[in-house]
Amino acid sequence: MSDFGVRIKDSSGNILLDTPDRITRFRYSTEVNADADDNVTLADIDGYSTIEFSIMLETGSGKCQHSVARSGTQISWVHQDGYAGIVKLYESAKSLIFVFMYT
């Protein structure tokens, strides 16, 4: 039995949230242009596990979303494009960046 936490039941007695459960918290999102590389510092994520990822806001066979990485409390994103010779094979898309805290 857990010593800490909260157990929440609905009107029928079903457990909606139990003591071992945890809820993922939304920390940050931003929309970034296709060719944008940038970063943001989120001081309050220090000590917490986060997941940071991107979703494209454009569709096309050769489109790629930004890569997103965390270093300390800094979240950075980098656009992606690539060539074969002088021919552009894939190119960066406008993207949504997300950061969630899950511990």
Binding site: K9, R22, T24, I55, M56, K63, Q80, L89, Y102
Partner: protein, 243 residues
């Protein structure tokens, strides 16, 4: 924090947090057919940024490709599926998408309170609803980093690398896979004529407690020369609980 509550469990994990607005389920659907190129799936228009998690079927790879935003709302999302292959444009027909299905859930910041009359509801100092025990919350239970080898085509052998991920603590979860890769292989199929195939990275369910992350054939056509190159990132597979 002037308002709200923060509750920690035995593992010192934040169980409920009144400071950050949590994402809760606003819409879902199951057994949605994927047989277009890509498949456009509509959601109820929302000005709130959504997070959409998917559950693939066992028969073919898919991945969530993009959201559609038409100011001021998010209106749709695109899911891509694999094509029959190896695709050869010499046949004179466009690539054929392998028909499969997807289940999906959309989450946003909690826009309104539930109808539940028992439980716990927390607001922040801006009177935004940050937690409501009557809602189904976006809940990450596992994150795996996936590093796949590059796809190859040697002789008649196509190599599409994959990795199987097990999540024994949860059955039939939903997933987010990001970022996606892009790989291009082209070669001469007739004298002076070159064809290409594009690979993407997707998900295919193996069992209720495992999923395959792998490269799949996504597109093809004619091109001007031979190459094997692309973008092969470290992918995050985010496994999500469904409360």
């Amino acid at each position: 924090m002037g308002y709200g509550i923060k509750i920690l469990n035995d593992n010192n994990e934040v169980q409920v947090d009144g400071e950050y607005r949590n994402f809760s389920e606003v819409e879902s659907d199951t057994n949605v057919t994927i047989n277009s190129y890509p498949e456009l799936i509509s959601i109820t228009n929302t000005s709130l940024v959504p997070v959409i998690a998917i559950r693939p079927d066992t028969d073919s790879f898919i991945n969530l490709f993009s959201y559609v935003y038409s100011s001021p709302n998010y209106t749709d999302f695109n899911v891509i599926g694999g094509i029959e292959g190896p695709y050869d444009p010499s046949y004179g027909v466009p690539p054929v998408v392998i028909s499969t299905t997807v289940d999906w859930i959309a989450y946003t910041e909690t826009p309104s309170k539930s109808t539940e009359t028992h439980g716990l509801r927390i607001y922040n100092s801006d009177t935004d609803l940050v937690f409501d025990s009557g809602k189904k919350y976006f809940d990450i239970v596992q994150v795996d980093q996936i590093i796949l080898d590059d796809p190859t085509h040697v002789g008649a052998v196509w190599n599409r690398p994959y990795e199987d991920i097990t999540h024994s603590s949860i059955e039939n979860p939903y997933y987010i896979l990001s970022p996606n890769g892009f790989w291009w292989i082209s070669g001469m199929v007739e004298p002076g004529k070159f064809a290409y195939i594009i690979f993407r990275i997707g998900l295919k369910q193996i069992s209720s407690t495992s999923v395959r992350v792998g490269w799949f054939w996504y597109d093809g056509g004619w091109c001007g020369g031979a190459a094997s190159t692309g973008y092969n990132p470290t992918c995050n597979l985010i496994t999500c609980n469904v409360r």
